[in-house]
Amino acid sequence: MPKLLRPLDVYRHLPGTNCGECGEVNCMAFAAKLIERQKGIEDCKPLFKPEYKAKLEKLLEVLRPPVKEVTIGVGDRAITVGGKVCVYRHELTWYRPTALFFDVDDEMPEDEAIKKVKYVEDFELERIGVKLKLNGIAVRCVSGSPEKFAKRVAKITEVSNLPLILCSYDPNVMEEALIVVGSKKPLIYAATKDNWSEMIKLASKYNCPLALSAPGDLSMLKSLAATARKAGLDDLILDPGTFVEGDSFAETINMFTMLRREAIEKEDKDVGYPLMGVPAAVWLSPEGDEVATKMKECYVANALITRFADLLVMHTIDIWALLPILVWRQNVYTDPRVPLSVKAGLYEIGLVDEKTPIFVTGNSALTYFLVRGDVEKSGKGYLICVDTEGISVESSVAGRRFTADKVVEALKEAGIENKVKHRTIIIPGKAARISGELEDLLQGWKVFVGPKESSGIPDFIEKVWSKEVKFE
């Protein structure tokens, strides 16, 4: 179990004047919000006065998560990775969702590269009320030419604001590109056992974050980090290597796991930096079939998100392969202390009247958003969410959280009988087994068993409900 901060640990290093400038009632409340990351240090303005310099320094030290936060890029698309305080998400929550970077290189046709960059930049997928996005571009130097690489990098920054990773082991190539985009805080990839001295100098000179790469050699990785730290660098990213060939993936998972446990449970500062994985490496030893390789890239990415990767470099942009990654990232980075649910009760969808159908479902946020969308497509509806404690309809029927009694109670609470002329309700197909009992309890009401999947609602309303429910 990691040592989680308590408000008192933080309070000690605040001014303690309870000035309220941060919007909280007192410094203790602010301390709690700081730990929860609902407030930032910058919200405590007095802390930046000269007399609190020592406190501020101490506070920064106390608040520094065991995995440091590192920011790549500038402007509204800048992305901060790391910031982890626990190994297992149930211990608190995982902060800073894994950043997804996509590769282009300096030998592919320029229009192709720009197209991919724009795709990544504009990508947006809405799910459960959240817009899921891709985060950055990894520009790889395939040509070996500093000029060519710098030119490609310049072109990309011209068309896009996305944060960049500059990929080359050649310090000359790297500097040429840094001259162009060094002010935009790209991640320098990478310092290795051979070039560390020059790369550390470049990272210092241009004040950019630096990736350290020591494939398969954690002692070398740790040594590189210790060296960079000694040189005064602190914005570091660790790349232990993403091995995917044959059975080597077991070692990849093993290394990521060791590094994260060492950083958090052993508080080893040398490895207390974000971890970088490269699912794109599957393309070095592709499967016989392109689809199979894309699937592999997808599951490698998801295994690495699960095992602590803070940043990933991907090659594939096919939506079907990205979808599981985006959804898993969204899922695993939710706060486990907050059930994803909506308030139980009545929701009116569209311009409802007394001839509007009534739908009953659970109160899991996912259920709500899906059903709501499908009811909208069907026209309008009264949607009554029974309190299923945020659990899906299917599980809550099995777990007796969605019962006939609870439905009756929810209908009463909603006062629905005064709002409609008809006496019918539609329950989810997955709750079919409660329909008999429900009809017994709801004397005079007809219970329709709706489709098993809410996407069938528009069809169901058109072909079944509207035909059977008649108004004079």
Partner: protein
């Protein structure tokens, strides 16, 4: 501190405050203030929205406060400090040599371990199976290979149904010609799709479907079993009363085969189920509903009723990817860690119904902007299985052949006793410069 509405202040104070509210300019002369503390709220969030004249007024107010402070002998507040500027780059310290530091694997020790459950019994063990399968037995968190290599690889069980439930087309297409021949169906799962075992789902016993008598269903299981070599998981209909009878009958006619009865739930007569099933030497899957306390309670009941720990597998319920999978993931992680820390009720292998991935519309729905569903579907099931494998699941109920084969391959890699491929031989670093 008690905050009082302005209206309730004494008249003089109220008129003073009203003046302040309207003030563009404020001059205080010969004022004596008796209050111990005077708090003036300058609403900062309104600052951006208010017209310039009000800004000016605020500026005057600040001036007024300064005067007030002077009048009261309170030291002037220092000007509010701007935010700390971003820290300048740390000056480079020349480091002539690599700081050599060894990385020691962070090995912990655990007071507990997970029971190993054997599925199937050979003729020398009282059954008739040609092949047995072992799950569980872990001594550390999942795939913490720097501590222990997993003693058993996670295994895959494909679904076989006595009567066909609605299935996605893409799955049905793999079995179309064997749907009536259950032995051929099982063999296809094992030989072609590389499943370790199958689940025989006795859906027909559901009172709401065919209400097939338990004895008949048991005969069906025996008949299939006699023609195959592997052990099976016997799936009930989910009706707690009927399942109990079905498990009783099946247990009798397959006595000694060490099968798995799936599932025993909290709303069943757990003690009775445990006694009947263990009396014939079978295993159970204990199914709880995404609630770690229910897992604990159910397993405690099973143990108390005499079910040996190494005959219990727990299924905490699987939410598919995008459909509550994170709850499952965290329940599994917590269960496994609790087991390793010594909680007896958690020291059992974990079962995961990766099939639940198909409840997600992303897995099966025709939707052009999501790409071909033929790829999405299996990938959804693979992902659902994979992340739960990393959380500790040992046994996977699956539907799609491609998903089953892929997850098995991943399991083989992750649980391999020795990684053969030397990392040194792999030119990983080339990813940065190769034409991909």
């Amino acid at each position: 501190m008690v905050r009082v509405a302005k209206e309730k202040y004494p008249k003089e104070v109220k008129s003073f405050l009203d003046t302040l509210d309207e003030a563009k300019e404020l001059e205080l002369r010969d004022v004596e203030i008796l209050a111990e503390e005077l708090v003036l709220h300058l609403v900062p969030q309104a600052a951006q929205a208010v017209p310039p004249s009000v800004h000016q007024a605020h500026a005057y107010l600040e001036e007024a406060v300064k005067l007030l402070r002077q009048a009261l002998g309170i030291p002037a507040a220092p000007p509010s400090a701007p935010l700390a500027p971003p820290s300048p780059p740390a000056p480079t310290v020349p480091v002539p040599e690599l700081v050599k530091t060894a990385f020691e694997p962070p090995v912990f020790s655990y007071p507990g371990s997970i029971a190993e459950v054997q599925i199937g019994a050979t003729s020398t063990e009282g059954g008739t199976r040609g092949k047995v399968i072992k799950v569980g037995g872990e001594k550390c968190p999942p795939f913490y290979r720097f501590e222990f290599v997993p003693p058993n690889r996670p295994v895959i069980a494909l679904d076989v149904f006595d009567v066909l439930p609605p299935l996605p087309k893409t799955i049905k297409s793999y079995y179309r010609d064997v749907l009536k021949d259950h032995v051929a169906w099982v063999n296809r799962c094992i030989e072609e799709f590389k499943a370790d075992l199958v689940t025989l789902h006795l859906i027909s016993t559901d009172p709401a479907i065919e209400n097939r008598p338990a004895a008949e269903a048991a005969k069906f299981v025996r008949k299939v079993l006699d023609q195959i070599d592997i052990p099976v998981i016997v799936g009930g209909s989910g009706n707690p009363e009927k399942d109990l009878v079905v498990f009783e009958e099946v247990s009798k006619v397959t006595s000694g085969e060490r099968l798995v009865m799936a599932s025993v739930t909290i709303d069943m007569d757990v003690a009775k189920a445990a006694q009947t099933i263990s009396q014939h030497g079978h295993n159970v899957i204990a199914l709880a509903f995404l609630d770690i306390n229910q897992v604990k309670e159910l397993n405690r009941k099973l143990l108390d009723a005499g079910m040996p720990k190494d005959h219990i597998i727990t299924d905490p319920s699987t939410g598919g990817l995008g459909y509550g999978i994170e709850y499952t993931f965290s329940v599994m992680e917590r269960m496994r860690l609790a087991g390793l820390m010594g909680d007896e009720t958690m020291q059992v292998p974990i079962s995961c119904a990766a099939t639940n991935a198909w409840a997600a519309r992303e897995a099966w729905m025709e939707m052009a902007e999501w790409g071909p569903r033929e790829y999405r579907g299996p990938l959804w099931e693979i992902t659902t299985g994979l992340v739960n494998m990393l959380a500790g699941a040992d046994l996977f109920m699956m539907l799609h052949p491609l998903a089953a084969m892929t997850l098995r391959k991943i399991a083989e890699v992750l649980a391999k006793p020795k990684v053969e491929k030397e990392l040194k031989e792999i030119a990983y670093e080339k990813w940065a410069s190769a034409k991909l």
